[in-house]
Symmetry: C2
């Protein structure tokens, strides 16, 4: 430890005032070059550590940005976070990460902690059931919020996410184009906006192709590889014998393919499977996964940019910004085999 080196330590040792030292260390042009150099050198040799708490107490800007998502370990969020990190790093912001695991309470605790630390802003993929007052809590205390991946009704902050209904329709149409008509939808939940949009997109595509929608072909729930794997049993025992599955995301699709393979069938040949997100992993799965690119990196980058812009005074990013998904056709889908 030793005794703390602070501005006044440097100032005293050089016979200057703390005001001058403070200005010099932040490269103010008010300080003479020679003085500045001398001060910086001294700071270095004394091992001075800038106290951001003290500074931010004074300036009420902390350089801290919070990010809270369902689960940072989920590769979907991980890819978004990587993009956010890149953007914030470039702007020398510290970011604090948290999972809410879809607990509104955990999410609120995080927002409160962030406020206590004087966070400059927050990027969040809201937990299921997030009330708008939780977002208002941040905004009203001067901490702007940006939403990613999911919407919250009646909230007018910037939102960045993929166009889910459009994207899932791409996948469904792809399968219909290959001749499939008995197509199951595996995974997702009506409790999130994303879940509702994706199911709706699937239903729309079927109807447009005059294929009857059978609610029993929906296996709701799975959102992870493990759950997709376990869902294979249900999927394979559906009385309608689907020949294809539109999956909630890549994780579910990969899990489902593993489950199908375990049962002795060949995914991509016996059963066509589509994913969603186009994770890095999708292209190295076996078979490589036909999926829908969902622009994780775009979402992360744009959300971070929007927040930084907002902190710098501009605020024209409010409202919904949809990323347009794109089809990625690989080996996990193939034309319907004639019986």
């Amino acid at each position: 430890m030793g005794q703390k080196v602070k501005l006044s330590t440097i100032a005293d040792s050089l016979g200057l005032s703390t005001a001058t030292v403070s200005l010099a260390l932040r490269d103010s042009p008010l300080v003479a070059d020679a003085t500045r150099e001398k001060i910086k050198e001294q700071a270095q040799t004394l091992g001075y550590i800038y106290n951001r708490r003290a500074a931010s107490l004074r300036t009420s800007r902390s350089g801290i940005i919070g990010v809270v998502v369902h689960d940072i370990m989920n590769p979907f969020y991980a890819e978004i976070l990587r993009a956010i990190e890149g953007e914030l790093d470039r702007n020398r912001q510290t970011f604090i990460l948290s999972n809410h695991y879809d607990s509104v309470e955990k999410q609120r605790n995080f927002i409160e902690t962030l406020l206590q630390l004087g966070g400059d802003g927050v990027i969040m993929s809201p937990a299921i059931g997030t009330p708008k007052r939780d977002i208002a809590l941040a905004e009203e205390n001067g901490m702007p919020a940006i939403l990613i991946a999911r919407s919250v009704d009646e909230v007018d902050v910037p939102i960045y996410r993929g166009d889910d209904a459009y994207g899932i329709a791409l996948a469904t149409n792809h399968l219909i184009g290959l001749g499939h008509s008995c197509i199951a939808m595996v995974g997702g939940t009506d409790q999130t906006s994303t879940g509702r949009h994706r199911y709706q997109g699937y239903v729309n595509a079927l109807q447009k192709a005059n294929i009857e929608v059978d609610p029993d072909l929906r296996i709701p729930g799975p959102r992870t590889k493990q759950a997709g794997f376990e869902a294979a049993v249900n999927f394979l025992s559906l009385p309608q014998k689907p020949t294809a599955a539109v999956c909630w995301n890549d994780l579910v699709a990969i899990g489902l393919m593993n489950g199908i393979a375990r049962a002795g069938l060949v995914p991509g040949k016996d059963i066509s499977v589509t994913g969603y997100d186009d994770l890095e992993e999708a292209s190295i799965a076996t078979p490589s996964l036909t999926t829908v690119w969902n622009g994780q990196a775009e979402v992360g980058r744009m959300a971070a940019r929007a927040l930084l812009d907002k902190l710098n005074g501009s605020s024209d990013a409010d409202g919904l910004h949809l990323i347009r998904p794109e089809m990625r056709i690989r080996q996990s889908t193939s034309p319907l085999k004639q019986a």
Copy 2:
């Protein structure tokens, strides 16, 4: 925004002093019950937000703990982080996460930022080439450090990691026991302590079984699924035609199996493959992965505990703590086929 509600706002509105309000909000027994209740109610209605920067400036304790690892998106670290998170949450500490991507500079920046924020401690999986002075930087400024997963020479802080040499020998012996003698080692690097220990463990096991060690059977480098997938080409074209692969970790093993399958061979039957870590994913891979449990959750939990204990004054955890790995036998390994 409105004007900020602070202690004095509450104090003034109730005709009390800030000292009393401060004590009441932190449940000091010095304050009369009735007064405390009144104060808490008022804080609630005014929407008071505790200013931790101000408090920590005074107390020099921030409730912030930093965690920096190679890559939080790597499931190995993700599983450790999950355990750390659980332990810190329980103790109402905020944790700040960062990747260093094996950049010593990025890691040092993080440590400095943490010091500036008044971090109470740091848990780190040190970047390749971390000099001991970077750890000293934290320690000397009153921020204790705990190492996980990797060691740094000549540093006497607590270290929690698996016993890599022992663990990889378990995997190697398992394959030898199945009759394999031409066993490749895929992935890892001599630049980390972990990499050196694992290769050494592999070499030791072979020598003990009187199997000649062929350096060409080592394919160094891969540490990700993608890299493991790509390494399959090299692996399959080795002139010695190995019948088994000891992989650096589960990710490499799963990638390698995918690559092997892509080449028309059946992993687990034609080629035996072992992983390392026993990620959640290992058991749902196809074939399910024979691997070595590496105690990620243990490491995370113990490291967090050690740090919290240290912050509370005890410090008997210095030095190396090895978690003993265990074999998990599944479907990706099988007896050597007789030619």
